[in-house]
């Protein structure tokens, strides 16, 4: 079964613990993350997403992230991270 998760607008420092908890709760499931609402992605939330992608990959399960908007794409570029690092879009 695949879990669908939509990210909040602001993934700032204070959002990181909750994001980590939310994702950790889905460990063991395939997950589809919708990034459409994101307007701000901070380093700590980026780290959570990267860690999740790595963890899911290590367990051979599917984690995909889709609908990366231009704002978030720009922020990822500044961080030197590509959508692939995050699990990439399914397409």
């Amino acid at each position: 079964m695949t879990v669908a998760l939509t990210l909040p607008e602001r993934l700032d420092t204070s959002a990181a613990p909750e994001l980590a908890d939310t994702l950790a709760a889905e460990l063991g499931q395939d997950i589809e993350i919708d990034a459409a609402p994101v307007t701000h992605l901070g380093a700590l939330c980026l780290q959570v997403l990267l860690s999740a992608a790595k963890t899911w990959a290590a367990r051979g399960q599917s984690l995909t992230i889709s609908n990366i908007n231009d704002t978030m794409a720009g922020q990822l570029t500044l961080f030197g991270v590509t959508p692939d690092h995050l699990g990439g879009p399914r397409e």
């Binding site: 700032d12 420092t13 204070s14 701000h40 901070g42």
Partner: protein, 121 residues
């Protein structure tokens, strides 16, 4: 990008300048005249960023930043320190209090706006 900014300064002149600069930049701006007033405004409002003076009566900038950071919901709000004093130890104190950055008074309006966009965008 419309940001909401809280600007705290005890000088009416600087508050006027900030108000004009920030409003012109399309930000929604609230002003407060010292740290205590700033905290009051924060009670019932949320902001994308705060600009504060250091030297103020009642509650100075250091105390204000401290008190803001003490609240869970403001843990990560960007706070820029606005001051004519740029002595290294003052910057260090502001940083230790939890400031995100600093802007030198007199400020250059486009630069101030850009600084806010950088930290709160």
């Amino acid at each position: 990008m419309s940001l909401s900014i809280l600007a705290v300064d005890d000088s009416q002149t600087i508050r006027n300048m900030l108000n004009m600069t920030l409003t012109d930049a399309g930000f929604s701006t609230r002003l407060a005249e010292d740290g205590l007033k700033g905290l009051e405004v924060l009670e019932n409002n949320s902001f994308d960023a705060i600009i504060t003076d250091i030297n103020m009566p009642n509650l100075d900038g250091f105390g204000f930043i401290d008190a803001v950071r003490a609240q869970e919901r403001f843990r990560s709000i960007p706070i820029l320190v606005l001051t004519t004093e740029v002595a290294p130890e003052l910057k260090a104190r502001a940083r230790d209090a939890g400031a995100t950055g600093w802007v030198v008074k007199p400020f250059d309006p486009p630069k101030l706006v850009r600084a806010l966009q950088l930290v709160a965008g």
